[in-house]
Symmetry: C2
Subunit: 420 residues, 2 copies
Amino acid sequence: MADAETDPAQLIATMAAEARAAATTLARLPTETKRQGLHAAAAAIRAQADAILAANASDMARAETAGLSGALLDRLRLDPARLAAVADAVAVVAMLDDPVGQVIDARTRPNGLVLSRVRVPIGVIGIVYESRPNVTADAAALCVMSGNAAILRGGSEALASNRALHAAFVAGLEQGGLPRTAVQLVPTADRAAVGAMLAAAGLIDLIVPRGGKGLVARVQAEARVPVLAHLDGINHVYVHASADPAMAEAVVIDAKMRRTGVCGAMETLLIDRDFPRAAELVEALAATGCTVRGDAGVQALATVDPAAPADWDTEYLDAIASVALVEGVDGALAHIARHGSHHTDAIVAEDVAIAERFLAEADSAIVLWNASTQFADGGEFGLGAEIGIATGRLHARGPVALEGLTTYKWIGRGTGQVRG
Amino acid sequence: MADAETDPAQLIATMAAEARAAATTLARLPTETKRQGLHAAAAAIRAQADAILAANASDMARAETAGLSGALLDRLRLDPARLAAVADAVAVVAMLDDPVGQVIDARTRPNGLVLSRVRVPIGVIGIVYESRPNVTADAAALCVMSGNAAILRGGSEALASNRALHAAFVAGLEQGGLPRTAVQLVPTADRAAVGAMLAAAGLIDLIVPRGGKGLVARVQAEARVPVLAHLDGINHVYVHASADPAMAEAVVIDAKMRRTGVCGAMETLLIDRDFPRAAELVEALAATGCTVRGDAGVQALATVDPAAPADWDTEYLDAIASVALVEGVDGALAHIARHGSHHTDAIVAEDVAIAERFLAEADSAIVLWNASTQFADGGEFGLGAEIGIATGRLHARGPVALEGLTTYKWIGRGTGQVRG
């Protein structure tokens, strides 16, 4: 262990080998066994609440001494209600449909060979996250339910909390008959361990970063392992000329202001030049306390701050919106193609043909018609949970839950067929 | 163009921008338009056969002067029959089912939001290949039919052939109403252009290498763009004790000897210690002209060469097989887990429970029961064609055809839903 503790690559290689063995077991487990393990993990988190909260208190004390920001302290903090929610979330994942073993398609070839494509787990998934201890249990539950082994690496400021949560979780797994190596926590605060995970091609099959843009950017830039993530959520709402004004106002205000810090929040409002209530829409948005930064057209309609060129490429994650007037759906699509981040974009319109064009042509993981961008969420999509939202173009896009954590294999059953 | 010709990164960036614009058009095209374009491309290849064969003759002359090997010359060579087959293959792809627009799933949320997941093209696909000019048309046809733009980079020894084939292909596309920038050929023999393609994250969405292990290894090691490929096809046939001896012999001989140079060929034969006809099976394989390298157990049964440790990790692509005796299905699975390449592995058995265990637990893109590993092929799987076989764990596995060249987007249709 001395070597493993000092050499991050060796540490990760050892953990990944144990994870691979666990993944082989997990891949074969019946749904009921995985459910029992996760329910036992949820129960263990509840039973060990005192120890977890005490560990969290020690993390909080260190973080306060170190002068961490209020927002960071809030993310780090657990209390009995938050911890109960963590346990509940594990129990919710346990009740989701199990994608493993689902037959995606089946065909019988003219030679009698029966081919089917069957969902299987991906294998070993690395989760790299920041200060929120709840990710420890959330990500672990999603990985286990989808038959994958997890290697967790949380922020160093949450190490005591994560250790306590992890200890409870794996004690529950073991009680439910699952291998405790199914979920492993990187035991060191050494940042080089993250680099070792990102370099572990062939040992770790997928990395999911959970956290701010800095973390995701580092992971995407460095990783030799495939990454499932989104960097930006520069989301647009386009209000077409045919939009119902009241609906436009409700959707825009919800998209921007319901929660400004989430990745599904609207950052840019595109108003059609022919929308007759543009000034009222901008004023209604501003009246909610949102700072509006408008282009020249918007400045002519209402009293707003001027938008700088960088505004169109900025994810504020705050009560700020950039607003532009655009020329029809072509203008809106052109703006989104240039400035969007392929996350979530919405149109408000009564004109069905225009809406369908927008839905077809906006090149985003999620496109919405007459609905708020804040629906960009696995729970809201009926997936029950999510490991994150992906804006890449391969494997899985948008909210990723259990199915996105699986792949497939081809199974062929024959009677002695040779190709000849 | 002077800069672009001297700066590979600039050249690829320019081509990729044109490809992105073409991809946006291609993504919206009705199936019939894509079919017309591909049929016109096939017709243009036939019509321009003289020019293409003349260009190929000049490539061949240069290659002979340069002293290229016979195998390489054979891959490079086109003749009227081979060229007709290239055109036919394009026409076959044109008649495949179009995956774009297929609705993968649909759900209505309790709030009335109607969500669907719809297949869309990936975008811009880079194909890096070696001396086979037919890949130019094959890969282009698969990309266009799946709504993707293609950037092709073939081997420098085939540059004249590829230019002539590409010119015909895009002339056909244009005649069919498709943008000629849908399929672009890197116009330079500069190897740095490949490096620029592999580094073009965000510009090229996926790289598909087509060629030998050296090419694939370079692409996998260097690429910052996701890669769909397989490096090795170290495929196993496991003959269980319950196997029908005649079927085992037929499957093993086909898997090894039908074509020894294909990625689906068997490289290692695993014979159960309890299979009563092991000696006869080894002798039958040797009698076909296959060199057998056996472990100690096999050496005791028949006159064979001894296998060295490296044999179990070797893809011979030749009339050579390594053969080991194993202890039951556990022994076979352990050997495959240690030495396999996650490509194609088969079991021959009459015992259904054993066969199903093998199918479930062998961690390969393709697992087969009582059938030859040489079925590892998109055409044999009923996919009509293939861009290649993938052994990675994400996105697409096994033979990849049109569907593997698509991704999906989430479309939500609402009536003013806000998250509130």
